[in-house]
Amino acid sequence: MEISAREVFDILVRECSRGLRAFLCSAVRRAEDAEDLYQETLVAAWKSLDRYDRSRPFAPWLRGIAMNVASDWMKSAARRRVLVCDEETLAQIGNHFSRLDGIAVDTWEEKTSALRDCLGELAGDERELVDLRYRDGMACESIAARLGKQAEAIRKRLQRVRAQLAMCVEGKLATAGGAP
């Protein structure tokens, strides 16, 4: 069997795809917006494959390509609207993902077990809020209508839940050896 560069690339990308998608999702509001970025990143990575140093891990290199693609998007007035943060913030987000790279487990599920555990520690109504926002893709106004509350109250609650999850994940990553 001939193992072409393309097949090796496909194998490497498959192993990194969830982490790359999560990184791109952190820069946009919705998962669908991240998909275009993801596809452009893979095309750019394939074109740059001869410049990849194979002695280095693939995931950080791929993330670097993604940052360049996002940076190009920021220069376009139409595409800039899809992105929520600037390059400096995205670079710092990348540092968090680098910490996940450093966790010595095999699968993305294991690497993100801190998030799973922190979601499990949320109170029932907080978990419902996260499910409505992220699982069901509902806007704050729709969530507010569903729960009989004011939209502004839902926004504030969501902010607090995100902060709580961020602190919880930070704490678990620090003890898991993913310290910055």
Binding site: V8, L12, R21, C25, A27, A31, A59, V84, I93, Q159
Partner: protein, 280 residues
């Protein structure tokens, strides 16, 4: 605005505000978690949306999802019995998921060459797999070698004990001097390969060394795939591949059939999956 308010404005309403340097670290942390959440739920939706053959036969007049659920329930009660064979797609998906678990598994593989399945110059091969990590012990005319890999990198420990990172030139050498198909017999990669581009069929229920298994077949849909055909016996209770026959058709080379059999799930040290463990 506080960092939480900035992130809230970014994600939940309107224009994304500029991030000042003092807030950037916390904003990045919140967005990091936001990215993990978006991906997590999107992945769960994608996994849940994999179609099954039975759904594709629903009549069009079933409009609401509630009505569809009722029909599924009635269909299951009236027509399906406990001994119905699972779909090949579900079996392959389950087998891939089982192999993705961080459990040590050992398979032995024999390589047969040509349509008459002559014993090859390679083998038997011992595959040790733990999720994305694997170690392959190869016996061949040049001696004994190990190939070791994780999700991102691969190494060859040659007959002399030297460790080589596997680059395209090493792949070429392995294919030329050892066997053109030896790198392709990783069962986890085979199961993942079957998930798309293959015509999958459930054949029968069979016993493999006293364990109840579902036998499935996958045939490639286009000739560009190097794996031409796979038959796998997947244990019903666990999703574990007990046996597999993988037919490779390498370009400009004879057909090769790898016959893999599950040996044991003996626990191994983490070091077993590093090249250093196999140097001599």
């Amino acid at each position: 605005m506080t960092p939480d308010e900035i992130v809230g404005a970014m994600l939940d309403g309107g224009e994304a505000p500029a991030v000042d340097a003092a807030s950037r670290a916390e904003v990045a942390q919140r967005l990091f978690v936001h990215g993990l959440l978006v991906e997590r739920y999107a992945h769960a939706r994608a996994v849940a949306s994999v179609p099954s053959p039975s759904r594709s036969r629903w009549p069009r007049r079933v409009a609401s999802s509630m009505a569809a659920a009722v029909v599924v329930g009635v269909f299951a009660l009236v027509f399906l019995r406990g001994d119905a064979l699972p779909s090949a797609e579900a079996t392959v998906s389950r087998a891939a998921d089982t192999l993705a678990q961080p459990v040590d598994r050992h398979f032995v593989s024999h390589v047969f060459v040509g349509e008459e399945r002559d014993p090859g110059r390679v083998g038997p091969l011992d595959w040790y797999v733990r999720a994305d990590r694997w170690a392959l012990h190869v016996r061949h005319p040049m001696g004994e070698s190990w190939l070791v890999g994780n999700g991102e990198r691969m190494w060859w420990v040659g007959p002399g004990g030297r460790v080589w990172p596997v680059l395209p030139a090493i792949v070429t050498r392995i294919q030329r001097e050892i066997d053109p198909t030896v790198l392709g017999g990783n069962l986890r990669d085979v199961m993942r390969e079957l998930k798309s581009g293959y015509e999958l069929t459930t054949l029968a229920r069979e016993d493999v060394k006293g364990r109840r298994a579902v036998r499935i077949r996958g045939v490639r849909k286009d000739a560009s795939r190097s794996i031409a055909r796979v038959e796998a016996w997947v244990e019903e209770a666990t999703g574990l591949v007990l046996k597999a026959e993988v037919r490779f058709e390498p370009p400009n080379n004879a057909v090769r059939t790898h016959v893999l059999e599950f040996v044991d799930a003996e626990k191994r040290d983490d070091a077993w999956y590093t090249p250093e463990a196999h140097r001599r």
